[in-house]
């Protein structure tokens, strides 16, 4: 666990970034918010690329910026993956990687990441002699990630590294990003406006709107909070669950949610692995008796935790499924007719489970 203390202000003619909050970082933390909310600017302030930023930035007790000091970017030992890769066009892939390696600080408590380890982790062996302009977008980002790793950073900052890539290319890179914290023990701040990437990668979410942090919590908690809908826009009401793959047979995976099971079609799955799944509130229907002879295969026994009035006469229910949470959106009429109330046991009918569809699962 690392602590990033921020108390910074950056004034721009059209926008002000004002962040005053310590961030506990472990694993991948998504920095999520609509475009123009200051996600990239925040990352650049942390990296030391915005000299006009005022205030203090400290990481694990080391001051990077204060009223009296400014540690320049090249001394902060952060790994930065830019949206556009920014590989050096005058150097080959291998030379790009060695550029970072030669400048990585060899001192410090953290063991340095070896050339071999980075090449292995991003599967770059075959690309080493290539010239960088001849690489595909996905290949460029893989090289950029490896290059950032080779500085043996204390913190990885990734600015929408997948946004310029198509689904197939994203699919090629996601597994590599997913395993970064585990393999190298480096906390990652991952900027994105793609909700599927948040669901797939992140453990925690920093929600940014209008240059301010409006929420910082674990992914499930953020998705559950209906009050954040206004800030997130694209973050559709629903929940993210981490479900364990209990079995996989003939293209159908059995996922364990609490003590119950969901059966979900999947291209492939490793039994025993944990998959993030997203269930939209609009895809969950409610029954007060266990339904029979129904096309919907997934029915979870649950208890109503909260009833909130949503937009357009809709009502959102927060449900408890053996300790996991689920959201359901129903009409106000249905609420009355079924005589639903907090604490009542109901059956949640799940019409579909999203497996980060835009990321190809």
């Amino acid at each position: 666990m690392s602590t990033l203390s921020l108390n910074v202000t950056l004034e721009r003619p059209d926008f002000t970034l004002r962040v005053d909050q310590p961030l506990e970082l472990a694993g991948i933390t998504a920095v999520f918010g609509p475009s123009g909310s200051g996600k990239t600017t925040l990352l650049r302030v942390i990296a030391g690329l915005e000299r006009e930023a005022r205030g203090t930035v400290a990481f694990d007790g080391e001051t990077w910026a204060s009223a009296s000091a400014h540690v320049p970017a090249h001394l902060r030992r952060i790994g930065y993956v830019f949206q556009d890769g920014r590989l050096f066009t005058h150097l080959s892939v291998e030379q790009n990687l060695r550029f970072a390696l030669q400048r990585s600080a060899t001192s410090g408590p953290r063991t340095s990441i070896s050339f071999e380890a980075a090449v292995e982790a991003l599967d770059l062996r075959a690309l080493l002699p290539r010239r960088t302009p001849s690489l595909s977008g996905g290949e460029q980002q893989r090289v950029a990630i490896a290059r950032a790793l080779l500085t043996s950073p204390r913190l990885m900052l990734m600015d929408e590294p997948l946004s310029s890539l198509d689904v197939a290319r994203k699919q090629e890179i996601l597994p590599h990003i997913e395993k970064l914290p585990g393999t190298f023990g480096i906390p990652v701040l991952y900027v994105t406006h793609n909700v599927d990437e948040v669901a797939r990668l992140a453990a925690d979410v920093v929600l940014l709107a209008g240059g301010r942090i409006v929420a910082h919590d674990n992914v499930a908690a953020i998705f559950e909070r209906s009050d954040l809908g206004a800030f997130t826009g694209g973050l559709e009401a629903g929940v993210v669950l981490r479900a364990q793959v209990a079995a996989f047979h003939n293209g159908t995976a059995t996922l364990r949610v609490g003590k119950q099971e969901l059966r979900v079609p999947m291209a492939a799955a490793n039994v025993g692995s944990t998959r993030p799944i997203r269930i939209h509130a609009r895809d969950v229907a409610i029954a007060t008796v266990r339904p029979e002879k129904l096309s919907i295969r997934n029915v979870l026994t649950s208890r109503i935790l909260k009833i909130e009035t949503g937009a357009n006469l809709n009502v959102e229910l927060l449900l408890d499924v053996d300790g996991e949470h689920l959201r359901a959106r129903i009409t106000g009429d249905a609420l009355e007719e079924l005589e639903l109330s907090v604490g009542r046991e109901v059956f949640a009918l799940i019409k579909s489970v999203a497996l980060e569809s835009s990321l190809g699962a």
């Binding site: 952060i78 050096f88 550029f99």
Partner: protein
């Protein structure tokens, strides 16, 4: 076939080479500043740098003669420091040429640095490269074609200068008598044969240099003038 006078040719090549070297050192930091500054002074400096492009060489030469002369504040300081005069000397010619050819070094370099942009430099900074490291190992290689342009244009422009040299340097064999002055002198004394040799030589040389650059440019797209 008249014999080639090597004195002025050699002197011209020396002058052009020294001018190029001096300007690379002086113009690079300025070009860098102009490319990356957000200061409002930038426009004024750019205008001043471009002045030699529009001023008649005689105007420039006239002011330099005053400034570099024993009574001028640069020439006077030089005189008290070294006991020699700047005007009508090779050193004075270098100073005058450097000022006259200034925009031919600054402008291609500035354009090249602007072309490189902040992006790769920021990337290099996050990879642990210090500012000087970023200049040598990222900006300079990426700006290589700008350097080739600057060197070729400055060299050729210095070889071809006449008015400023005449005003500041005069016509002293071995010291300030460069090719263009020698040609002028031969024409004045109606020695067309000698003028032909030097003029044709300069013509051929200029063509070969430019042809080489454009050929190189075609083979290596990195080097473009």
């Amino acid at each position: 076939m008249p014999e080639l006078e090597l004195g002025p040719v050699w002197l011209s090549l020396q002058l052009a080479t020294v001018t190029v070297l001096v300007l690379l050192v002086v113009a690079t930091p300025l070009a860098w500043w102009l490319a990356f500054t957000r200061s409002r002074a930038r426009t004024i400096i750019e205008a001043v740098v471009a002045m030699p492009l529009v001023l008649p060489p005689t105007v420039l030469g006239f002011y330099m003669l005053i400034l570099l002369g024993p009574a001028g504040w640069i020439g006077g300081a030089w005189l008290s420091l070294t006991d020699t005069t700047l005007t009508f000397s090779f050193t004075g010619l270098v100073v005058a040429s450097a000022i006259y050819s200034f925009p031919f070094t600054v402008q291609p370099l500035q354009a090249a640095f602007e072309g490189v942009g902040r992006s790769p430099l920021e990337a290099a900074a996050t990879l642990g490269a210090s500012p000087l490291d970023r200049f040598w190992h990222v900006a300079s290689p990426l700006a290589l074609r700008g350097y080739v342009s600057a060197v070729v244009l400055t060299f050729a422009h210095t070889l071809g200068e006449f008015g400023v040299v005449l005003m500041v340097g005069g016509n002293i064999p071995g010291s300030t008598k460069v090719i263009s002055i020698a040609i002028y002198e031969h024409v004045e004394t109606l020695d067309y044969a000698q003028a032909h040799v030097l003029a044709a030589g300069l013509l051929l040389f200029s063509f070969i240099v430019l042809f080489s650059v454009y050929t190189l440019n075609r083979r290596m797209p990195l080097v473009r003038v």
